[in-house]
Symmetry: C2
Subunit: 238 residues, 2 copies
Amino acid sequence: MPSEHIVSSFDTDLKEISRRVVEMGGQAEQLVADSVQSLVKRDTELAQKVIVLDGPIDLLQREIEEKSVLTIARRQPLAGDLREIVAAMRVANDLERIGDLAKNTSKRVLALTGEFHPQKLVRGVEHMSSMVLEQLKEVLDAYASREDARAIEVWKRDGEIDVLYTSLFRELLTYMMEDPRNISLCTHLLFCAKNIERIGDHATNIAETVHYLATGQLLTEERPKQDTTSLTTVPFPS
Amino acid sequence: MPSEHIVSSFDTDLKEISRRVVEMGGQAEQLVADSVQSLVKRDTELAQKVIVLDGPIDLLQREIEEKSVLTIARRQPLAGDLREIVAAMRVANDLERIGDLAKNTSKRVLALTGEFHPQKLVRGVEHMSSMVLEQLKEVLDAYASREDARAIEVWKRDGEIDVLYTSLFRELLTYMMEDPRNISLCTHLLFCAKNIERIGDHATNIAETVHYLATGQLLTEERPKQDTTSLTTVPFPS
């Protein structure tokens, strides 16, 4: 029965692609957690590890892309199955970018050794990170279990992270104005906070992909975007 | 002759995909140029325009992805043709991100109205932008004409942009330390400079894709990465 044979090979391909995406998700999640830890604890050894471990994630993304394209070409999947593969490629793409952002945060840790480093400045970044990590974990679980409702919850909560980021941005600018010795550290923390906020955006992208996967529909509502830092300035205290 | 019919439909699909990528490239290039102009001239009207015009670029990316996937599924292309389509998807992906970065720069222009705004602070960003725009133009021409040598030139020059970015980063930190009234502006300029440096990275990605398209090989050498700003701090003058 050649047709059954084809169908079952296709299922094997599909499961293998999906399995690799989930594996990649686990690696990306760990990398984000480690990058934040390296920043909070000023752990340069952990930071170095994060920088190195971004490589395998990039590699996995290319493998998933390659395997996906070959599967589409060989198996000519129809709508539903095609959606599975396109979704896998999109999620892998977001995870690759998440890995890059974690790596960038850890690179900054290496820049900050020996800098004036009041612990309170880092606390806001840590708090924001824990929210983003929770979002990432949730959306990866939603992908693995194809749970649309869970993905939508993640999607809705992105606005809260943006609010937090905007307030952190103002806070860090204020610290810089209060004491110029904070400028170097706070600049790097601003970029770290931006990295983390963007990781949140990628989690939201993944939520949109899970929704598309589960329903075949695009999330057409406007995204609950509340990051207004590009519109934020802090007046110099007179 | 059904097989010729299939081949020619496939060619039509392929040309259409490639045409849309080139069109998208033109739009992204214009958006980057306009975003820099909006920053340098503090032109909020132009900035608003950039923010709106990022939308059609995102849409084009989705269309290219959709058309590519359907073409792979329907036509079952072999190696060379498959490479064409994968390359188109990758380039579209980079162009979409370039559009986002241009939009982010223009959003910051809106934040800076009324801010203390010494023209000299912006000049470094302007200079760096002109180099990046040149890179982007070159690599898009290389894609349109499938010229590997031209793509490799772009790829090699990315290091120069990174050097420029690192020096600009230090310069902006120094301005912040000299006069706290510069902090708000310089912070946004740092993010703008980072946006532009990342646009350069995406141009380098596209160069790698053109090389893969022209030769079937990956550029295996280590990328000439010289952005060390994540490792850069400026000591507070004592």
